[in-house]
């Protein structure tokens, strides 16, 4: 192959300008996308009066770093507690999703059982099920059944938020992992089985270690989805101290205690902090992430 010479079509200079243009376009686009967020960042460092100046200033006159401290000191608005809550809930749901989705995917990918394909079709169907259809019954369910069984409700606890994630964690995760598992050759399974390994061993010691990109993808999607989840905590949690950040921010926005306090600068600061963990995680794991999506065959 290397012996064949092919006349090079495009001369060097056009490619360089084409490339430069591409860079310019991409960087411009990235800046436009980031602009609202940059405005939010600069607004978070302004005084409330500065926010009304016209023309709007891109940078604050004096950065009010203490806004970020004030954020944590608001009476009756425990931002710090909300942040903690979000971390705990999100970590637990991410763990639950990753483990139970891979277990379920294993069942779909590696075994034959009656009704398997019908179940998988149903699973795909739930991908398009609008969640509003089940919201009210779910609420009633999380109250009536536990009260009947143990005598107290699960409303205003984190159980309604965390429990579903340990039961398959959503169709998307199971789907992704099942596609991925299908592409791992069965010879490894067979070899292990001949050596007397049980299904558990195959799952934990063979399949999972080979699935790190897909697991990372599932974990990241789960983390992002749960960190920003708004509707479910809104419906299921009633005590301020148990809110995750998403509801807390909304509470901060509305703050019924004293509607006359302009909170925009604090709300911006609160938003900036809330975006930080997902950004860090995405930035660190993006290659894994894309690899996982690619290898899972989701595109096909």
């Amino acid at each position: 192959m290397s012996a064949v010479t092919v006349p090079v079509r495009s001369a060097a200079p056009p490619r360089r300008t084409g490339r430069a243009f591409l860079y310019a376009a991409v960087v411009f686009g990235a800046t436009v996308f980031m602009l609202p967020f940059l405005f939010a960042l600069s607004s978070s460092l302004k005084t409330p009066q500065e926010l009304e100046i016209f023309p709007p200033s891109l940078l604050p006159a004096i950065p009010q770093w203490q806004n970020y401290v004030t954020l944590f000191q608001l009476p009756n608005l425990p931002y710090g507690v909300w942040f903690e809550n979000s971390v705990i809930i999100t970590v637990l749901t991410t763990l639950g999703t990753t483990i139970s989705a891979s277990a379920s995917a294993y069942g779909f990918a590696r075994f034959r059982w009656p009704g398997r394909d019908a179940c998988f079709a149903i699973l795909l169907g739930t991908l398009i099920l609008p969640e509003q259809v089940v919201l009210i019954p779910k609420f009633l369910m999380f109250h009536l059944i536990p009260t009947a069984l143990f005598g107290h409700t699960l409303i205003d606890t984190w159980w309604p938020l965390i429990l579903p994630s340990w039961f398959g964690g959503g169709a998307f995760s199971v789907f992704l992992l099942r596609q991925f598992f299908l592409q791992i050759p069965r010879d490894l399974d067979e070899a292990a089985r001949i050596d007397g390994a049980g299904t558990s061993h195959i799952f934990w010691q063979i399949l999972l270690p080979l699935s790190k990109p897909a697991l990372a993808t599932v974990a990241i999607f789960a983390f992002l989805g749960n960190w920003n989840n708004f509707i479910d905590p809104l419906i299921f949690i009633t005590s301020t101290s148990r809110f995750p950040l998403s509801v807390g921010l909304r509470w901060l926005q509305q703050n019924p205690a004293d509607p006359s306090i302009p909170q925009t600068h604090l709300l911006m600061a609160g938003s900036v902090l809330m975006v930080l963990p997902p950004v860090v995680i995405f930035f660190a794991m993006q290659r894994y992430f894309i690899q996982g999506v690619a290898m899972s065959g989701i595109k096909g």
């Binding site: 016209f54 023309p55 075994f111 609008p130 509003q132 259809v133 964690g169 938003s271 894309i290 999506v293």
Partner: protein
């Protein structure tokens, strides 16, 4: 005799192995199965029942048959059809524009530019922003008198409209927010993944045949990418039809119902007016529409989606 016995033994052993496999498979898949029954199937059936009742939480469900459905479809609920058309309008624009932009960005980010990780994060950032924050940021950007957007327009001597406060511009303004928050997100990532799995040999072969970049895109990249496009299309349509939070937080469904989408209408009826029975009926109508659209999509996809080969 011996042969039949052996054959029989094999069959018995075979069927026992198959039973063991079935049991194991069911056990492993049980988390999802149980979750489905508890958190999806049960509630779905319950909501179907509720849709035939009049129920306001503080009372007992009262059976009224098809009355809720009749009320919706007959136009007795003056906002039902407008909110439905409005939602379709929104999806009809958001989905093609969104997918095209996502693809464009994915293509650009696939060119081995320097700082790609940073750039990718920049494009992905909006989709990481919580809706409350995004809505608030954009509300300020769109502020008619003191906001940056109208300021930029004022610099070029254009009188900016009142954006989110004006019924004729609110929907478009909201679409921009929606695009901003979704174009660089999951859809783009999935396209990136799809692009990276297009075999480079195909590109090389096309290049050797003298194909330029555009031709290569049309005849190599796009066909190879078509399953990904289909996936993003289906998920995109379902997602766009469910537009809700940004409307509630930024414009409250207004002004003059300009951003009153179907799910906003459902939420209003269920959680503001407490007509839970009617809201459940709306939810079911929505479910049927979504199912129908997905079926149509899948059916039509045979014409334009190219699969490399049946994988199993």
């Amino acid at each position: 005799m011996v042969q039949t016995a052996v054959a029989q033994q094999k069959r018995v052993a075979g069927s026992r192995a198959r039973r063991q496999e079935a049991v194991a498979g069911l056990l492993w898949a049980s988390p999802w199965i149980l979750g489905f029954v508890l958190f999806t199937l049960g509630p779905v059936i319950a909501s179907l029942y509720l849709s035939f009742t009049q129920y306001t939480i503080s009372g007992v469900p009262k059976w009224i048959g098809l009355a809720n459905y009749v009320r919706a479809i007959s136009g007795a609920d003056a906002l039902f059809w407008p909110s439905l058309w409005r939602t379709f309008h929104y999806a009809l624009i958001m989905v093609p524009v969104g997918i095209s932009l996502s693809l464009l960005i994915a293509l650009a980010l696939n060119q081995q530019l320097r700082l790609t990780p940073v750039l990718r994060t920049c494009y992905f950032l909006p989709s990481l922003t919580p809706v409350v924050a995004a809505a608030l940021i954009w509300t300020w950007l769109y502020e008619p008198e003191f906001g940056p957007i109208n300021w930029l327009l004022w610099l070029v001597h254009v009188q900016g409209p009142k954006w989110l406060a004006d019924p004729s511009t609110a929907l478009n303004a909201l679409m921009v927010i929606g695009l901003w928050g979704s174009v660089g997100g999951g859809t783009m990532i999935i396209f990136l993944a799809g692009l990276q799995s297009v075999p480079p040999e195909l590109h090389e072969a096309a290049q050797i045949d003298g194909a330029g970049a555009w031709t290569r895109f049309r005849h190599v990249t796009l066909p190879m990418l078509s399953p990904t496009v289909l996936f993003n299309l289906i998920i995109g349509i379902v997602g766009a039809l469910q537009v809700f939070a940004v409307s509630i937080i930024a414009t409250n469904g207004g002004p003059d119902y300009a951003t009153w989408f179907f799910i906003v209408h459902l939420y209003q009826n269920g959680f503001q007016d407490f007509d839970m029975g009617y809201a459940s009926a709306l939810a079911w109508i929505f479910l049927v529409i979504v199912l129908a659209l997905t079926m149509i999509n899948l059916r039509l996809s045979n014409r334009w989606v190219y699969y490399e080969g049946e994988s199993k």
